[in-house]
């Protein structure tokens, strides 16, 4: 049967073709342009937004995105342990109080807590325009509280925050109670001794083996004696430091600092990464990893920038006269201190602030140690080797004594080392005095009346106008100057040897002839 095809207008045909093309499903997503355009236009006509020409593409994109139906509904949602959630869990512990026991005990209000009143201090710092935001301060405060509860501490201070490339460090300065610290010290020493014993055993075995072989000539070079580190509670190790990456994470104790580390840290300039065990790759090679470098920088910053108003601390007058060469290193709070007026504190002459941390000598210690100390062994050796030259007695290194005012600080480039500021120019009666360090940018101090505090927030680097350039490698050792005594000459070739022998024989024959002639002449 013939079904008559209706006659289609060519225009209609074009229309049908066009619609068919537009309805072609896209290979990627299964949607087609025709439906999409119609839905966009429907939305536009419904909502009638302004400037629809400008946002047309955006509408189109929105429609496309909203079409996506996720098939997650049929699948159980995975619990997304994002890092944010993980951190929040850790920090929740900060805010938890102890259970059970504490509910019975009432807090003893009279007892002094070693915890500082961080909110008050941060309020003052905020007036000066420095500090961390409030959330962070509260978290740090809780973390310090945890630290106090877990260790028996006499005094705790929030030292500051150091930025690293991957993570930051929050540093707490801590003073142990008397006697408590020794427990930790003994543990450390016991470990060290144990290690030394094991290494000695190894050396002993090796020594025996070596003795059997021929003795190689031993070099006479004795490495310069290692400057010993100062004991805890003195010099750069006066305070102990704890760090953590985030409040809520556990506090790690930083090791005591050695003079070698301080001198090395003075010669390099590296960013902190945020991981305590990261190696410090530098020239000259730094003895230790990032925790040692961090500790060295903390020591340098403390020595250079911890200041207090003049008169807050004073020397204990009951102390006996100290020995020559040793500076005083103990001070006590002045109970009669009454605070200086703010105007005096911001005087550009800087005479009303003093350092209360000892200056670190170039040697790396606070009290100079004479490296030329002769032991009994040395005396014996000296008798044997008379030719050994005696090194000159090094001159003792002297640094500014404790409690020197800031006016004695050296200038940085051609600008003063500290910038004093009043926190508010508009209301000077209640303004507080602040000091910003120009040598260690990031070190700040404030004072008002009897209160004062130091803090450091920065990257842990000193300021220098000129670029940092690493020290040059040591000069190449010179060779023994070549002279005729040690220059090798070539061995004579066989022809030369033969010629020499022939020449010698001729000479001998000639000599014999000469002797014969002489004998003959004598006989005559």
């Amino acid at each position: 049967m013939d079904t008559p095809t209706p006659k289609i207008n060519p225009k209609e045909e074009q229309y049908i073709n066009a619609k068919a093309y537009l309805s072609e499903a896209s290979t990627d997503s299964g949607y087609n342009l025709y439906d999409h355009l119609s839905s966009c236009l429907t939305k536009i006509l419904d909502e009638r937004p302004e400037n629809v020409y400008d946002i047309f593409e955006d509408i189109s994109k929105d429609r496309k995105r909203s079409k996506f139906t996720s098939n997650v509904d049929t699948v159980q949602d995975k619990i997304d342990q994002s890092t944010e959630v993980a951190l929040a869990i850790v920090q929740r512990k900060l805010f938890a109080r102890g259970d059970g026991d504490e509910a019975d005990q009432e807090p003893d209000e009279d007892a002094e807590t070693p915890l500082p009143n961080l909110m008050e201090l941060s309020f003052f710092f905020e007036q000066a325009g420095i500090g961390l935001n409030r959330e962070e301060v509260i978290r740090v405060w809780m973390a310090l509280k945890n630290l106090v509860e877990s260790h028996n501490l006499q005094h705790v201070r929030f030292w500051g925050k150091l930025f690293g490339t991957e993570q930051n460090y929050y540093v707490a300065e801590v003073e142990y109670r008397e006697g408590e610290e020794d427990a930790d010290e003994e543990e450390e020493e016991a470990e060290e001794q144990h290690e030394e014993e094991t290494t000695e055993k190894d050396d002993g075995e090796e020594g025996e083996e070596e003795a059997e072989e021929d003795d190689t000539p031993k070099p006479e070079f004795k490495p310069p004696p290692v400057v010993p580190r100062e004991e805890n509670r003195t010099g750069p190790n006066k305070k102990t430091y704890f760090v953590c990456n985030d409040p809520g994470k556990p506090w790690t104790k930083l090791p005591a600092v050695t003079p070698a580390q301080i001198t090395s840290a003075r010669q390099i300039k590296k960013f902190l990464t945020g991981r305590l065990d990261a190696p410090v790759v530098s020239y000259p090679p730094f003895p230790g990893n990032e925790s040692n470098y961090l500790r060295a920088q903390v020591a340098r910053i403390s020595a250079g920038t911890h200041i207090s108003p003049l008169g807050f601390y004073q020397f204990d007058e009951e102390e006996e006269e100290e020995e020559e060469g040793e500076g005083r290193d103990n001070f006590v709070e002045n109970l009669d201190f009454e605070g200086l007026p703010t105007k005096e504190m911001t005087d550009p002459i800087l005479s009303s602030w003093v350092h209360h941390v000892q200056h670190i000598l170039p040697q790396g210690r606070c009290a100079w140690w004479n490296p030329v100390q002769k032991n009994e062994d040395d005396f014996e050796e000296e008798d044997e080797e008379e030719e050994r030259e005696e090194p000159d007695e090094p001159e003792p290194e002297v640094g500014p004594p404790l409690l020197t005012p800031l006016s004695e600080d050296a200038e940085v480039g051609n600008m003063p080392p500290w910038t004093p500021k009043m926190s508010s120019n508009l209301i000077p009666q209640f303004a507080i005095a602040c000091m910003h360090s120009n040598l260690w940018p990031g070190a700040h101090a404030f004072a008002q009346g009897k209160k004062f505090e130091n803090v450091y927030i920065g990257t842990g680097h000193k300021y220098s106008q000129d670029n940092y350039s690493p020290p040059a490698p040591p000069a190449i050792q010179e060779e023994f100057p070549s002279g005729p005594e040690i220059t090798e000459t070539e061995d004579p070739t066989p022809e030369e040897e033969a010629a020499l022998r022939a020449a010698k024989q001729d000479a001998m024959e000639a000599a014999e002839e000469m002797e014969d002639e002489e004998e003959q002449s004598d006989e005559d």
Binding site: D54, A88, F163, F271, G413, G442, T459, H461, Y468
Partner: protein, 264 residues
């Protein structure tokens, strides 16, 4: 906040007032607080006034005591080169002059090289302009797709910018320098074919030399992304993922960290 510098309440309120007044007086489309440069005696607060075109129509202004804005001059290139030579901190006084001694080597008689010292005087204002331009040129960044280039060539904010996701935030390539693209034309054609012309008209951070000159950190877990520049220490960029809030500020002494390669 967590980078250690905050505005004291007094500073913040005076700045707020001053910025609003600035926008009104100079008829800018919007005004942003750019940052603060520390000087020895005084600090400078810098603001940007933005006209119609986000990128090209910018004007920098500064104030010292939070009340009176001063224009920063626009310098020709040679003057900028000279201004970069000045070392040392800003003093806080715009009319202060730096002296820089240039040692020029001129060929003298025969083989000798005759050294002459030339003292170049650089005004602090000029130096300030140059530093701000440099920082904006090298450090100012925005998330990708936050700005769109319209067909007329103008650059405007993308109203549908919904923020980057957390995983996108971890990639340096999602952040772009907000300046005339210098690296883009150097890319190969294959790379360029995949780019979206309206979104990718800026250089991304991935090509920054040396590698690692940006430190990326997350605050509050992954609540906020912070990007700190190690080349210009003090520049911080923040972005809250999945929201359209982002911003940057410079709080520093205005000196480039040339020791960066040694420090990484």
């Amino acid at each position: 906040g967590s980078s250690g510098v905050i505005l004291s309440p007094e500073e913040a309120t005076t700045l707020q007032t001053a910025l609003v007044l600035l926008k009104h007086e100079q008829k800018f489309t919007s005004v942003q607080y750019w940052g603060k440069i520390f000087g020895i005696n005084n600090d400078y607060y810098i603001a940007i006034g933005i006209g119609n075109d986000e990128m090209y129509d910018r004007k920098y202004l500064y104030i010292k005591d939070c009340m009176n804005w001063g224009d920063l001059p626009i310098l020709p290139k040679e003057a900028q080169e000279q201004a970069r030579l000045a070392k040392g901190r800003f003093s806080g006084d715009p009319s202060n002059e730096f002296e820089h001694i240039l040692i020029k080597q001129l060929p003298g008689e025969g083989d000798e090289i005759h050294e002459e010292e030339e003292t170049v005087i650089i005004k602090e204002e000029d130096r300030l302009t140059t530093i701000i331009n440099d920082i904006s040129h090298e450090a100012f960044i925005v998330p990708r797709s936050a700005y769109i280039r319209t067909p007329t060539g103008m650059i405007s904010k993308n109203r549908t910018f919904e923020g980057l996701s957390v995983t996108e935030c971890t990639k340096l390539g999602q952040f772009l320098h907000f300046r005339e693209a210098t690296e883009l034309p150097k890319k190969s054609l294959i790379d360029r074919a995949n780019l979206d012309k309206s979104l990718d008209f800026l250089d991304s951070l991935e090509e920054d030399v040396p590698k690692g000159s940006w430190s990326m950190q997350f605050d509050r877990g992954c609540g906020v992304t912070l990007l700190k520049s190690l080349l210009w220490p003090g520049y911080v960029f923040y972005h809250v993922p999945h929201t359209s809030s982002f911003g940057s500020v410079y709080y520093g002494i205005g000196e480039k960290n040339i020791d960066l390669p040694f420090m990484l």
